[in-house]
Subunit: 464 residues, 2 copies
Amino acid sequence: MPDTAPVLRHIEETFAQSVARLQDLLRFPSVGVDPRHEADTKACARWLADRLAEIGMEASVRPTEGMPMVVAHDRSAPEGAPHLLYYGHYDVQPADPIELWETPPFEPTIVEGPRGPRVVARGAVDDKGQIMTFIEAMRAWKAVHGALPVRVTIFLEGEEEASSRSLEPFLLANRDELRADVCVISDTGMLDVDRPAITYMLRGLAYAEVTLHGPSHDLHSGMYGGAVVNPINALCRILAELHDDEGRVQIPGFYDDVREIAPEEAEAWRNIGFDEAAFLAGAGLRSSTGEAGRSVLERVWSRPTCDINGIWGGYTGEGSKTIIASKASAKLSCRLVPDQDPARIMAALKRFFAARTPAGCRLDFVDMGVGGAIRVPTDSPFLDAAKQAAHEVFGVAPVLIGCGGSIPVVAAVKRILGLDTLLVGFGLDDDRVHSPNEKFELVCYRRGIETHAAMLGRFADVRA
Amino acid sequence: MPDTAPVLRHIEETFAQSVARLQDLLRFPSVGVDPRHEADTKACARWLADRLAEIGMEASVRPTEGMPMVVAHDRSAPEGAPHLLYYGHYDVQPADPIELWETPPFEPTIVEGPRGPRVVARGAVDDKGQIMTFIEAMRAWKAVHGALPVRVTIFLEGEEEASSRSLEPFLLANRDELRADVCVISDTGMLDVDRPAITYMLRGLAYAEVTLHGPSHDLHSGMYGGAVVNPINALCRILAELHDDEGRVQIPGFYDDVREIAPEEAEAWRNIGFDEAAFLAGAGLRSSTGEAGRSVLERVWSRPTCDINGIWGGYTGEGSKTIIASKASAKLSCRLVPDQDPARIMAALKRFFAARTPAGCRLDFVDMGVGGAIRVPTDSPFLDAAKQAAHEVFGVAPVLIGCGGSIPVVAAVKRILGLDTLLVGFGLDDDRVHSPNEKFELVCYRRGIETHAAMLGRFADVRA
């Protein structure tokens, strides 16, 4: 095994510079979804490519129809070494509501918190701080050994917060260039600051928008009320049927391919020490709601859902207006679990609405996109290497966890490049991802860099 | 009987000026419910008082806590003549959705339609066009005879579309000044352009706004979905329970005081020649929806309802956003029929929501106002006089009809001033009241003025 110890020492000694570089990255308002920040987003891509070139990689900014990709290759490793593909994104969520930030979102500020200093800025953890964990680990390896122990390709996108529109075309067009042995992504979290985690399950998503059209125009509810279809009432009746009284989704066939988790998995989850009360308190709630007879972790990690994400129709201003609206709309999405076929669920959802559209109404159903759930094989030698590396850095073995969210790139990388993904991330539940005052604990940042450095060393010994 | 014939001739000769004055009135964006239009609404009141003073009335704009009342007295009639109280409202509904108007809502435009020219503007018929029918009739009487044949008091409010908050305090405070023999209101409709009608039943209203509060802030639907209450889903489940599969309202006690109409009434309604297909076509519909086993007229005139008037929550912009909203809201209202107690229905509605608010949610229930249903006596000499006047102008006897809408002032005038109301209106079902492109047929406007002129003449002979 290559010698990781001096690399870890170097990381400790130069950590102040690693923080400074992260702050530089965080100063770019790379809100890729906002046309006003197009130049900022492109400048951010350029900055990243320059940093990667600076440590001896062959780095380029590659145009797409939207925001560019940053691609870098490092071929300094010995012949025959495993080849790792690192993915991340340099675009960030909009900073709104801006007035709730305590420090300016694009002036990264070091603030003392209960776990020591943290950096507060939009993108601090999602995903700029996390991509810097592996870039800084590679920088340290290069500084100490002049080379990486494994062959590395990095690709960073600028449209993750905008549905990754250019991702699949780019993967398809650059399939050969991006092929590797396994993909590594740091965009997930830990159980807490001392308990590392590797995510092995991600839920998928099927997102739709529905509109029920009824009368040709808004009607006076006195003149017509009682004699004509009311699209809002009709839509609510359909939406109410999405769940039964036990919280089970009523879309026909919804659970057909859903498997129960294995007893040993259930056992492992019970022993994780998940703090249900703290999780709910983070949402301002005291009780959990959901499928009857399931724990919170089961509900979030291993069970599919159907949530209405938005609804609108009729008069929504101040005061009272006595109308029967001509139409009513909702956005809704199903979180999916492994083995559920997203396209089949989307089709079933559409049939669910079509079958319940009442006389006098016309249904508009828009498929807003699907992505399958992911289950990463837990018996891979790369996963073992990552576990050992995290154990080494944290002094405890990482736990294998699920995640209720979706990372669509994982499915795309599997489908297009044929690669499994290793999800090793360093965020915390309270990092305020997508919210004002997003932050990244510097202790998480440092341990992230250290874990990636140790992983690079251990990956070198993997013989696929 | 005073000589009405020259008055009718004068109305015909000067109709172009009557139209021009209506257009002037329609140019005021008197959206009383909208604070941004407070000055416009007050200017509209001033304009009306000036017009009434111009024809020799003692007119004043009277402040209230909200929008002002316009009050005018005419004492030009012979001693001992009956005293009529005319009510109307000069405020209008908001023009939203503004983008659906084919001409600007506050630039009254004369458009040629299948029944000749019509004026298109917000308030064209509700209620500015209708109040101008009696004001212009009085102007004509004054122009021809120098006096009215009956004693007249007019009061016009500016908050009818905002629950008439100042109306009752004003009636109470000015009880003596407003007392008369009977009240006349033009805010209802005809069967069609050639078939006049007098309305003898009006539904009441109970309007509420509900909000379900769940999580303390919008949550990521991946991180939390399936384990926490979703206020939109929860609200839809409650709203869906408002009706059973037969279209009956499920609020406990809702039908307790609802009486079936008399067999002779049902018979009269069947013989009105109501064109159900045309009524539905006016709403762009081919079939009626509602309480099973009831005709459209029964549903609209004699049965109570519960319609959702607006709903909102979560993400309603372009594209997809995967959130669980912290709250969801709806506006809803019940149309009520005679003998239903509005306060009791409002209380039952509140209990309905409270009983169904799930764990993890908090209910905000706002009573936005109630008004009882009305049944006008059909044996009064003033009603007979109005029938004869309409017969004279239209060449056919008016029919007695119900109306699904609510005119809360009718109940207040009865309770506070002790007056019955005569509801003689000139709107048509397809006038797009409360909708974009609201219009008033000029033929209806002219016949309305003529009918009021004839009514003034016939009222003079009524000896109460």
